[in-house]
């Protein structure tokens, strides 16, 4: 298998996804299939190909340092599960602020 049960557990922890044992099994199998398919690319000879930083060959896409209107606060907060009209409210963040 191209990805182990242990790797899936670790990635789900980093991604803050709580997976049951059964779901982890399913994910390991499905991610494995995807990765196996992607391994097709290994067959391409890329020795002479310059590595790219981006999928399309564009560079230097800029905007000027211009202000644009921001969202009204009630609109910005509208989709938050919890807010107090001023700030988003989240479970306590401990440690450094």
């Amino acid at each position: 298998m191209p990805i182990s049960h242990q790797q899936v557990t670790r990635v789900s922890l980093l991604g803050r996804l709580l997976l049951s044992e059964e779901e982890t099994e399913t994910m390991t199998a499905q991610l494995g299939q995807i990765l196996t398919y992607m391994q097709l690319l290994d067959e391409v000879d890329t020795d002479q190909v310059e590595p790219m930083a981006h999928a399309v060959e564009v560079s230097d896409v800029f905007r000027g340092d211009q202000l644009a209107p921001s969202l009204a606060r009630d609109l910005a907060l509208a989709n938050a599960p919890q807010h107090d009209g001023e700030c988003y409210r989240v479970p306590a963040v401990l440690g450094d602020a």
């Binding site: 340092d65 001023e86 988003y88």
Partner: protein, 489 residues
């Protein structure tokens, strides 16, 4: 240094760049707005919103990097640094991983051990990234939750990473002071620590001399320092703590994982912080929403030309051109370019650099401090101050009278000449001065006796009386003339 160990310090400094809008969207970067009023779909990480790079942020970064003598990458790209934290709405920070926009520079700082010497601190890299939001802990009514303000999210930050070349807390402070001055002169950042536009993290450990050679102790990262003095104190505390810990445990680098500690200002100690991530696995990968950025030799040369005179060069020039001491030059340059320009204009007007340096430091800076005013708002133009200095230097009045004239100029907006007139200051004729002294001696026989016996302090009483009769008299001359007259008696 007689300690059996060397202190090894490297600093990571984040400065906010002076742009009007954020790094990837048009929201304002202004400090102090009401929470969550400067956000949009891009900086709140709404799915589907696309970032577009602010050109000014990139150019300011290149400018800072050139000021730090860094190599500029012809091709640079941005990467996603993945971690979950409530103040990071996208779940990743757009930063630079393996192709930073600049690397391999240096900054020369004053050596705290040897006056007039510099220490060269190498810079590993300087790269451009976005800031996160701000979380505030709230325990109102027993509900312990956190409030998140995303105004700051997406603000452009330049991260400047030094080599671990700093050898004492005092050097760390000098490095920060010099870095801040440089970035101020370049117009890249205002480096205001109170407003969070300059933040410092420090890595520190010890190299202990042992019979088997030097041994490195575990590296500790220190955060949460809110002033340059706090950085100096936190590092001094941390070095001592590590020394004691080494004697107790003998732990070496690699024996324990790198620890993060926070400086606690009230207690003046560092305490361990809970780390953000169980592991620092940020799974960097190139951001597919942003195109790489290239820069040509011409464009780099163009930015280099815009650097202007840097603080180190300016210090040297002021000493050479105006004959002032390196100390005075440093004081003036540390105040920023506008004050230096004021000094130069005043010095040129009175053709006396030393006198101008004294007046600017003793009178102008004092008034600016008292009134909490920038030099741009100082009511007396430098040419007028120069004229006043000229009058004092030519002996028309004493320095203390000159200060009264300056006070009059500040209060009324008068020119130097008009203020001198208004105070009735005229140079007292030598003959008049002799007459006055002769009269004073005649009416103060006791003082004359004292002077004859060599009790020269007694002359003070005569000067006081002379000033009362004519405030324009020069105290030094009154004293000289009286002593001459007594000798001739």
């Amino acid at each position: 240094m007689n300690k059996p160990y060397a202190i090894i310090i490297g600093l990571e400094v984040h400065v906010q760049l002076l742009t009007s809008s954020k790094l990837f969207c048009g929201c304002s970067t202004a400090f102090g707005a009401a929470p969550n009023t400067q956000t949009c779909v891009v900086c709140t990480g709404t799915p589907g919103a696309l970032p577009v790079m602010n050109r000014q942020a990139y150019l300011l970064s290149v400018k800072a990097a050139l000021g730090l003598n860094c190599q500029i990458a012809r091709l640079t790209k941005w990467d996603r640094k993945n971690y979950y934290y409530p103040d990071l709405p996208k779940g990743y920070q757009i930063s630079q991983y393996d192709m930073p926009l600049s690397r391999d520079g240096h900054l020369d700082i004053p050596d705290p051990e040897q006056e007039g010497q510099v220490r060269r601190i190498r810079i590993i890299r300087a790269h451009l990234e976005e800031d996160a939001g701000k979380s505030m802990h709230d325990e109102v009514a027993g509900k312990a939750d956190s409030r998140i303000d995303l105004n700051r999210a997406g603000t452009p930050l330049l991260e400047i990473v030094s080599q671990p070349d700093l050898r004492s807390p005092a050097e760390a402070k000098n490095y920060l002071t010099e870095l801040k001055l440089l970035l101020n002169y370049l117009g890249v950042s205002d480096c205001n620590m109170q407003e969070g536009s300059l933040r410092v993290d420090a890595n520190i450990n010890l190299h202990v001399a042992t019979p088997e050679g030097n041994v490195a102790t575990p590296i500790v990262e220190v955060k949460n320092m809110n002033s340059f003095r706090a950085v100096e104190r936190a590092l001094a505390y941390e070095a001592q703590r590590q020394w004691e810990l080494w004697q107790e445990t003998g732990q070496r680098i690699g024996d324990v994982p790198k620890q993060t500690r926070g400086w606690e200002e009230e207690a003046q100690i560092t305490r361990p912080q809970r780390s953000k991530e169980e592991s620092s696995d940020y799974r960097y990968f190139p951001d597919p929403d942003l195109a790489p950025v290239t820069i040509s030799e011409d464009a780099i040369a163009h930015v280099r030309q815009s650097l202007g005179e840097l603080p180190a060069d300016l210090r040297t020039r002021l000493v050479g051109q105006f004959g002032i001491t390196p100390y005075d030059s440093d004081v003036l340059v540390s105040q920023g370019r506008p004050l230096v320009d004021y000094f130069i204009a005043a010095a040129e007007a009175c053709r006396d650099g030393k006198a101008a340096a004294n007046w600017v430091q003793q009178s102008v800076l004092r008034v600016l401090n008292e009134r909490q005013m920038p030099i741009e708002q100082f009511p007396v133009p430098p040419a007028e101050l120069g004229r006043l200095i000229d009058e004092v230097q030519s002996g028309k009045m004493e320095t203390s009278r000159g200060r009264e004239v300056l006070a009059e100029m500040l209060a009324t907006g008068k020119s130097a000449a008009a203020a001198i007139d208004a105070l009735g200051i005229v140079q007292v004729d030598e003959a008049d001065l002799e007459t006055l002294c002769a009269e004073l001696l005649a009416s103060n026989p006791k003082v004359v006796d004292d002077l004859k016996q060599g009790r020269l302090k007694a002359a003070g009483a005569l000067i006081g009386q002379a000033k009362k009769r004519n405030p324009n008299v020069n105290a030094t001359r009154v004293r000289e003339i009286c002593l001459q007259l007594v000798q001739r008696m």
